[in-house]
């Protein structure tokens, strides 16, 4: 199955995992402690995040630590950037218009 970054971050639990790992590397057990979901569910999220390279793992002794790969997340921004510029500009113009009409009538 094809995986991409957007699919990965579409899920709120996976976004939460990313915010956790953004603070520091963690073992799967430590991550699971932060969630009500089953350990199995968390493993599945970890697997998806790894497949999209949003996180990477490193062995340290007997434990596996997961790291947040911020470089990969930047791709999301890059992808959306043009679209974002277009809409942000458009909406700023609408803000200005609404503001203008407000002062005109009051």
């Amino acid at each position: 199955m094809r995986r991409d970054v957007f699919q990965a971050i579409a899920d709120p639990s996976r976004r939460a995992i990313l915010s956790l790992l953004a603070i520091g590397a963690m073992t799967p057990n430590a991550m699971a402690e932060h969630f009500d979901s089953s350990r199995q569910a968390i493993s599945k999220h970890i697997k998806i995040l790894s497949e999209c390279q949003l996180i990477r793992q490193e062995q340290s002794g007997r434990e596996i630590y997961y790291y947040f790969n911020s470089k990969k997340l930047k791709e999301v921004d890059k992808w959306l950037e043009p679209f974002r510029i277009l809409w942000d500009t458009r909406f700023d113009q609408l803000d200005a218009l609404l503001q203008k009409n407000k002062t005109k009538k009051s």
Partner: protein
């Protein structure tokens, strides 16, 4: 006071939907009018330095908005919106399209279904726009196009900054 609100962009896992959510600091009726009345749309719909110019507007179920976007070098892109259903002050949806000046649709570009929803919040109005694509490739095409426009805009903003300093 003009507060710039945050716009939230979400891409659906299917890669066929893109959602844009934004709040505006004005009552619902005014925001609704800005999205549905051509004289107001002309004032904000095209991102600078482009301008939107309405040719005809028939805002109702089955009606059409025909307009063009004029670029800084005078080039024109004709577009149309075919409204499917309109629920006053609540929602409307339509298919967009590029067309010629008579409104004949150019089929080489994918059409997107737009769902626009409006709701009052405590302090203003929330607008949710959902863009639906037939395929992932169609979405990519739109983004590529946005890139070109975004690039042009970035330059115009730079011009403005340079002119003001």
């Amino acid at each position: 006071m003009i507060a710039t609100k945050e716009t939230i962009y979400t891409k659906d896992p299917s890669n066929k939907k893109l959602k844009v959510v934004r709040e505006f600091d004005a009552p619902l009726q005014k925001v609704w009018n800005a999205w549905t009345k051509s004289d107001l749309l002309d004032q904000w719909w095209a991102p600078k330095p482009w301008k939107a110019v309405t040719q005809s507007m028939d805002f109702r179920d089955g009606g059409t908005w025909l307009y063009y976007m004029q670029g800084p070098d005078g080039e024109r892109h004709y577009c149309r919106a075919d409204y499917k259903s309109v629920v006053p002050n609540k929602s409307f949806n339509y298919y967009d399209a590029f067309c010629d000046e008579k409104g004949n649709i150019k089929n080489d570009f994918p059409r997107t279904l737009w769902n626009c929803q409006f709701s009052s919040t405590g302090s203003g109005t929330k607008v949710e726009v959902e863009l639906n694509f037939d395929s992932e490739a169609d979405l990519q095409k739109l983004v590529d196009m946005g890139f070109k426009e975004g690039f042009a805009m970035a330059h115009s903003n730079l011009d403005e900054i340079l002119a003001n300093n």
